[in-house]
């Protein structure tokens, strides 16, 4: 008889289907970091002087800072001198048609065809391989509406004033240790600007892939939704299976001006390490948005299934009156994965509203921590927050932890917090089995039901993808479609 225990045991084994490497010829910098490396990156990218100065200042900040240790995660020391800070494919070509066939093959295997006619309709893709953006699709069509969507490097060249105006506006160079490191050595990333009153007609999407060994990835994304505009943006990430840990320290900055709405979704599936906890990506990411305009709205949705360690807190600074912030998250920790993730909602403007829905799933030896802060500043009259943090445990060797911090300086504020921790119960399992459903399919069903509120917030085709990913991460592939 298949018992619940056997299913749990099965779930402790894991499959990672994106774990292949590609034979792309790369220019890789020697390992180590110093001022010369920062200069070399800037020179390789033919950057203007102001940006080099900005990087050098960030590097100086970083040198003076210490790696934060407050998160509920444990890992060995990271040797920052053993990492290469820049890797670029030698033959990048200038567009999808001239791309190195190996790069094209890699993205095809990942299911991201870059040639426009082959692509899923309605999604524009910017693909970042290791440090460099290799292709951006649908650029011309978007440009006709005044929408700028390009790699970060290209934006620096073609729209230097915009980049200079907003870079670091949300995440200052010295915000935290990892953000400072990113600011010094960031390689590439995506840039999007939606002009006033324009509703972006398709999902904008960036696909990140770490391929080279011993390489860190430090991409930077900057999205500006000008007055009355709307954009929905999705990022996806994978990496090959490697025994050593790889560092990923990204920065994402979102800006929403008056009446603008910006929706940012992440499906993070970096290599999580093997079932014994060897290898995997260290994912230390700073994501923040400023809803500076009145009636503006920022929405974060994340599905975090990968990485050995996840440290990220996509946050909203609700500055404009009536601004809204949302955070919808599913985080899965299986085997020896650790996640310390959550959000910050800072209420500054009057009548600002925020919603937090966090769903943590722990299996194997996984440790899942929700860490969140809701802060209502003086003067943020009638601010409202609703928080819901639920944890689901699969097995008895994993853990779920919740650290909600609440700080209210405004008597008219209304805050609600709900939390629950549940186990997939014998009762639920038996109920499903009694109806003819196998324990594997039952677990799959229960987990997806648990995540539904978050998946509902993803663009349709990605919701389907996210569902599949959860099944794969928990190794639950069964027959229920």
């Amino acid at each position: 008889m298949v018992t619940v225990d056997q299913v749990k045991e099965q779930m402790a084994k894991q499959e990672y289907k994106f774990g292949f490497t590609a034979d792309v010829e790369m220019d890789v910098f020697p390992t180590g970091i110093n001022e010369d490396v920062v200069r070399a990156i800037s020179r390789w990218k033919e950057e203007p002087e102001w940006l080099l100065e900005w990087r050098l200042k960030s590097y100086a900040y970083w040198k003076s800072m210490k790696e934060p240790k407050w998160a509920n995660i444990t890992y060995g020391p990271i040797d920052y001198q053993a990492i290469s800070y820049f890797a670029a494919p030698k033959n990048k070509g200038t567009g999808p048609t001239e791309m190195d066939p190996e790069i094209k093959k890699l993205y095809d295997r990942l299911g991201i065809p870059l040639v426009e006619q082959e692509r899923l309709a309605g999604v524009a893709v910017d693909a970042v391989l290791d440090s460099v953006s290799v292709a951006t699709t649908f650029k011309d069509k978007l440009a006709s509406m005044g929408i700028i969507f390009s790699s970060f490097s290209e934006a620096v060249k073609e729209h230097p004033d915009l980049v200079r105006k907003w870079l670091g506006f949300v995440v200052p160079q010295n915000d935290n240790f990892f953000a400072a490191l990113n600011s010094a050595v960031f390689s590439d990333g995506s840039f999007a600007y939606i002009p006033p009153g324009v509703r972006c007609p398709m999902e904008l999407s960036t696909y990140f892939r770490i391929n080279a060994a011993n390489t860190g990835q430090f991409e930077r994304t900057l999205i500006i939704a000008d007055k009355g505009s709307y954009v929905s943006y999705l990022e996806g990430c994978t990496a090959p299976m490697r025994d050593e840990n790889q560092l990923h320290a990204a920065v994402v900055e979102l800006i929403a001006l008056d009446d603008a709405e910006l929706k940012y979704s992440t499906i993070q599936n970096w290599y999580p390490g093997d079932k014994n906890g060897k290898g995997g990506i260290y994912n230390f990411v700073t994501k923040r948005g400023r809803a500076v305009g009145k009636n503006s709205k920022l929405s974060w949705t994340q599905v975090e299934t990968g990485s050995a360690i996840t440290w990220k807190y996509p946050s909203c600074w609700l500055e404009g009156d009536n601004a809204q912030g949302e955070f919808y998250s599913v985080a899965v920790c299986n085997n020896h994965q650790q996640a310390d993730t959550g959000t910050k909602m800072i209420h500054i403007g009057k009548n600002t509203r925020s919603t937090i829905v966090s769903k943590g799933i722990s299996a194997g030896f996984g440790q899942n921590t929700y860490r969140g802060q809701v802060k209502v500043m003086r003067g943020a009259t009638d601010a409202r927050n609703y928080s819901q943090c639920d944890s689901l445990l699969v097995g008895d060797k994993c853990g779920a932890h919740t650290f909600p911090y609440i700080e209210v300086n405004e008597p008219t504020a209304t805050l609600e917090h709900e939390a629950s921790t549940s186990k997939i119960g014998e009762d639920q399992m038996f109920y499903c089995q009694q109806r003819g459903i196998t324990p594997e399919d039952a677990t799959n069903m229960i987990v997806n039901g648990f995540c539904k509120k978050v998946f509902n917030n993803l663009p349709m085709e990605f919701a389907v993808e996210a569902q599949k990913l959860i099944v794969v991460s928990l190794n639950l592939e069964g027959t229920v479609g």
Binding site: F430, Q434, G436, T438, M445
Partner: protein
Amino acid sequence: MQPMLEIRNLHASVADKPILKGVILTVNAGEVHAIMGPNGSGKSTLANVLAGRPNYVVTGGEVLYQGKNLLPMKPEDRAREGVFLAFQYPVEIPGVNNAYFLKSALNAIRRYHGEPELDAIEFLQLVEEKLKALGLDESFTKRGLNEGFSGGEKKRNEIFQLLTIQPRLAILDETDSGLDIDALRIVSQGVNSLRAPDRAILLVTHYQRILNYIKPDFVHVLVDGRIADSGGEELAHELERDGYARFEATAKVA
């Protein structure tokens, strides 16, 4: 003719405590059997052991279902072979759509028998009349599985599943508890519509009330893990009038 269900001297324990102490019972196709008994006599344990609930440990005896040895079978295989348990306390599974769950169950059973799976439209056609018969709105199918359902709604959902799955052997574990008189009538009508020459129903209940609506062919009294008496419908009336005192006294003496 081979019986639908043959329970031979069944012993079972829960948490090392013996509950069933030699149950003997034969149920033929086409029959409705009522199992009555005082609280703690082992009625629900019997229902759960037949369905294969974990932690209900069989310590002796055997059960033949349609001539097959039932006890070594996995719970899902028992279900696929046609054993259905309407739960006394149906669980909630938040976020799992009620109709999606039932369609998955039905298709798992159909696959097992090599029958083609139903698509969403065929499934909706199938359940439409069942819903109507139970006085349920279509919105009922769109809610999470038993999520936030009242006690009565949960019981009706069990019967809705029963009518859709159409099992060979239906075991109803105190389906009448928590139902008001109107709901009881509707649920009973549903169960009665299922009576057929190739199907058997085992009705576990504490009260005679439901037997006014579902007429049993046989009534058994379970006391202290054994069947203490068997008879026809009149036995249920006697129990309703006199209670279980006579059997409990006997059980203690024994």
